[in-house]
Amino acid sequence: MKYNRRFFALAFFLFHFTSLVVCAQEEDPNAWRKRLNYFYPETVLDSSNVECIYDYYVTDTVRNERKRTEFILLHGKQYSKYMDYEAYRLDSVECTRDRTKLTWGDCDDIRKEYNIITTTSSLIYLLKDHASGMIQVFDKVFMDKYTYLDSLARFEWELVDSTREVCGYVCHKATTSFRGRKWTAWYCDLPINDGPWKFSGLPGLILAIYDTSTCQRFIANTIRMGKSCIKRIERDDIKTTREKFNKALKQYKEDPRGLRHAMGIEVKVVNNGGETGTPYRRGFYNPLELE
C-alpha cells in the first residue's frame, strides 16, 4: 500500500479536524462520581437514648496552637459510642440511603449539602461496654488504623460542694487524677454514668471536664434525646495495646518526617529564593493520656 503525499496531507488535515472534534468531545468528568463507594459491614450493638455533643479544645504548648473539634456521645442501655461529630453527621445521612448503591458522587453531594468537614483528629471512635466494663478504642497513626481494648477505669472522684450551669443544666463539681493529668468535671443530675472520651463514674452525665493545665477541655454544647444506632464497624483494624499505640502515635507526631522516610515518602521544602531543604517540624500533639 503506497502512502503518498496526498494521503498524508489528507490524513494530516483529517486528523487535525478529527482531533478538534474528538478533543472537542466532552470529557466524562463524572466518571469518578459513578464509582461505587464501599462500606464495611456494621454490627448494631444498641440504640442511643441520650446524645451529647461536646466541643473539644486542645492546645499544643510547644507549637503554641489550639484546635477545636466536635465529638458526639451516643449513650445507650449497654453501649456508648464516642465519635467525631462530622463523621456522625455523614454517617447519619448515608444511612438514610441504600448504601449498596451509594456512589462517590452521592457522598460528595452529601458533604456539600450538609457542609460536612473532615476532622483532623486521629481518633476514629471508641465504644464503651458498660456491662463488661471494657472500652474498645479505634484510632489511627498516619494512614494505618488500629484497635485496642481498655477497661472502664474506676475513677476515684472527689465530690466538691460547688455548682454552675453548663449547657442549660445545673452541674456539680468533682475532681480526679487519671493517667498523668488532674481533671475537674461538672456533672448534671441526669442519671447517666457516662461522659466524653473515657470518662465515667459520676452519678450524672459529665457535661464539662478540663485538666488543671487547661490544655484539654471538653464542654457540652448540645444535649438531646437519642435516636441513633450504636454500631461497630467490622473492619480488619490492626490489634494492639494501649501502651504500644500511644507510644507509636507520640513518635509519629514528634517526628512525622521519620515515619514517612521509613515508608519511602520524601518531603521537600522550597524556601525563599528557591533553596531546598527538609526542615524538621513537630506535628500537632498533646495527648489526653500522659501515662
Binding site: Q25, E65, P191, K244, G258, L259, M263
Partner: protein, 880 residues
Amino acid sequence: MRLFCRFILVCVLLVVFPLTVSAQGRLAGTVTDEAGVPLPSVVVKVYDETGSKMLTYAMTDVHGRYAVEVKQSVEKVMVRFNCMGFVQKECKVDKFGTQEHITLKEGQTEMKEVSVRAKPVVSRNDTISYNVARLKDKSDRTIEDVIKKIPGIEVEESGTIKYNGKPINKFYIEGADMLGGRYSLASKNIDAEDVATVSVYENHQPKRVLKDIAISDQAALNLKLKNGNMLRPIGNASVGAGLGDKALWQAGLFTLLVSPKKQYLVTLKGNNTAALYDDEAADYFSTSSSRNALVSDLLHPSLSGPSYISASRSCDNRSAITTYNSLHTLSKDVHLNVNGGYHYNHLDNRIDKASTFTTSDGVGVVVNENTRNSIGSHAGWLKLKYESNKDSAYVNEQLSAEGKLQDGECKIATSAPVRQYVKSANYLVTNHLEMIWRRNGHAYNFKSITSLGNSPKNMLDALTPGVSGGDSLIVSQNIDGLRFHNQESSYYKWALSHMVTLGVDGLFQLDYDKMNATMMHAADGTEMQYGGRQIQAEVAPSLGLRLNQDMNASINLVTQYGSLHYRDQISREDYRYDRPRVGLRTSFAYRIKQNVRLTCGASHLGTMGNMFNYVTIPLYLTYRDRSVLGSGRHDYKTKTTVNVNLNCHDVITGRNANLTAHYQHVHGNVSSGSDVSQNQTSTFYTQHGSNTDSWLIVANVSKNVYDWHTIFSLRGEMALNGAQMYRQNTFFRFHNDIYAVEGRLQSSILQQMLTVNVSAQYILSLQHGGLLTAPNRQNDYNMNAEVTLVPLSGWQVYLRCNASFIQKPSCDTSASRYNRHSYLDVGSQYAFKKFLLELSLRNVTNRRQYHVRQFSALDTYDYLYHLRPIEGVLTVRYNL
C-alpha cells in the same frame, strides 16, 4: 470483784459499740424492674436525712447489685434511685447492714433538649469566609498561623495546605494566582495584620467553564486584603564574604510585593562560593526533549561529560541569576503573567581522566587526558501567559522563548597537547494553547502545543601545536539544526458501571527536523544536509476494573502508526519508514492486608527512531570521539518491561519493608559498536539485531526504636545489565553489574537538641563478558555522617563529613589498595530579631583530590577531580 466486773463491761461496750456503728454505715441491695429483671447502671445516691446534702453514691452492676459505705456517723439517710427510663424512687433508711430490694417503675425521665452551638462566620454555597481579626491571636504573626485555625485546614511542615485531607489546588491573593505551587512563599511571609478575610472555596474548579461539569474534590484559599492596602514588601537581603585560595563573595535579594491588582516577585543573586543556581534555573526551562532541535545535545562543553561529583566541590565559579515574576489583573476574569530571567555561569575545573578500552587483542588501549576546562554559559527566558477564566469560556495562551549559549575551552594534556573549543547556541519558542468552551451543559476542549527549536551553532574546534610552530588543525566542525514540533492529544472516559471503566487516549505528533554539518579534519572536508518529517499517531483504548475495595486492574491496547520520511540533500537519497504496531500496557494493585500492598505492571511497546538513524557520515563529538549517528536504516526497538512492588509496614512496632523488582528487555534491529586506537575512538551502528536485558532489585527494611528516637535501616540494591556491541569487528555480549549495601542510622536525642544521621555503604561493581579475559571488580566503601546541634533557641551548629575508600586500578602497584578521601564541612547559624548570621567552613581537611572509577560496557574510566580548597564564608541575612 465489782470493780473488775465494771471494767469488763466497759471493755465489752468499747468493743461492741464501734461494731454497731460500722454495721450501721453499709447500704447494699439489688434494683430490678417490675418484672424482676435486674437493672444495671442505676445511680444510687445517699443523702442526709433532709435530702439536701449528698453523702456518697454508687452504681448498680450488671446484676443490679449495689453496695455503698456511708462514712459519717448518721442514724438516718435518704437514698434516691435513678435510672433513665424509670421513675425515681426515694426511701429513708435507718437500718444499715441489711439487704434492700428496690423495684423501679417504668416511666419517662424528664430531660430538656439544649443546644448552644455556634455557626460558621459566613457560608454561601461552597464559600466560607473567615474574618481574620476574629481568628487571630496575639501570638499569630503570619497569615499561615491564622489559616491553621480554620476548621478542616491542616498545614504541613513543607507549607502545603490541606483542606479535608486534600491539598488545595489554588492559593489566590485578591482572586489572582501568581505563585502557583510556590504559595508557601506568601503564606509564611504575609503579615496577618494586612489581611481582612480568608475565604475557603470548597470543591474548587479553577476553570469556571467546567463548574458543575468537572467536579473537584479540592478546595482553594483566597486572601482578601484590607481596603486599599498594598502589602508591605516581603523578602530578605543577604551579603557574605570569605576566604579560600582567593577572596569569596556572595549576595542575594528576594522581594515579594502584592497589591490588589498587581503582584511581583523578584530575585537577584550572585556568588563565587560554588552555588551554581542550576536547579533553580531548570524550573523555568522546557523539560520536554521532543521540542529542542535534535542536534542541541550532541556536544558537551567539558571533555569529561557530566560530573560524577557535585560541581560545587570541584569548580571555581562566578554565577549569577535574576528572575522576575509578575501578575497583572487586567479585568475581573483576565490575568496576564510575565516571567523572565537570566542565568550566568562561568566554571573552571581540572579533571584528569584515564580511559582503558578493551580490545580484541587483549592488550587494551589506555588514554590519559589531564584536562583544564573553562566553561561559560548564558541562559535567558521570557514567558507570557494570558488567561481568561470566564463562566462561558476558558482560554489559556502561553508563549515562551528561551535561549542558551555555551562556550567551553578545554586544554588537554595528553600524548600531544590539544586545545578543544566547543560553542553552542540553542533557542526554543513554544506556544501552548488551551481552550474550553461550554454549550448546553457540555464542555468542549482543544489543546495544542507548537514549538520551534533552533540550534544555529554547535561548533567544535580542536588544535594541537604544529611541528613548525603555530597550531595544527585536528578538526573544525559546525552543526546546525532545526525542529518544528506539533502535538495534540485527547482522551475520553466512560464509566459503564461502578466496576468497569472504558476509555480511549489519542495522540497526534508531527516533527520536522533539519540538520547541516560542515567538517574540516586535517586536509579533508565533509558536508552533510539532512531534512524530513516524522508523524506518530496513537490510539489506546483502555479497560479499567475495580474488582473490590482492595483490588483494581487496568489494561491498555496501544495501537500506533509511525511514518518517517527523511532525505539526504547532498546524495539525494530518500529514507522512508511506515509501519503500524500494537503494544500492551497493564497494571494491577492489590491490598493484601491493611498494611501490606502489592502493585505490578507490565508493558510491551515499540519505539520509533529519528533522523539520526540515517546520518551515516561521521561527526566529531570531541577532538578524538568520531561518531556515526545511525546505521542507515530505521532504528526500531521493542521494549518489554515488568515491575513489581511489595510494601508492608507496621507503625506500632516501627517496622517497614519494601521490595521492588524491575526487568526490561529491549530488542532492536541495530547494534552499536566502536573501534579504539590511541588517537581516536570511532563509534558506529550496524544493521545487526541486538538484545539488552536489565534487572533492578531493591530491598529496604527499617526499624524505628521509639524509646531511643532512632531509626535503623538497611538497603540492598542489585542492578544487572547485559547488552551486545561490536568492538574491533567482533560482536560480543557484556555485563555491567552493581551490587550495593547501605546501612543507616538516624537519631534525634535530647529532645531534638542533637540530630545524628550516619550511613555506611559498600558497592561492588563487576564488568565481565565479551573480550575481557577475566572479570573486572571494583570495591568502594563510603561513610557519611551529619550531626546537628541546637544548644540554644535560634542557634544551630552542624557538621557534615564523608569518608571514601575507592579501590585503585589493578595496574597500580602502590602499597595501598585504596584511594582514601575524607571531606568535612562545619558551620553555625544564629538568628536574632530580623537577622540571621551564618559562618560556614567547607573542606576543613583541605582535601584537594577525589577519585571516581566507572565501568561502561567493556571500558573503564578513572577520574581524578581537583577540589576547591578549605574555605570560610560569613553571611548576614536581613529579613524585611
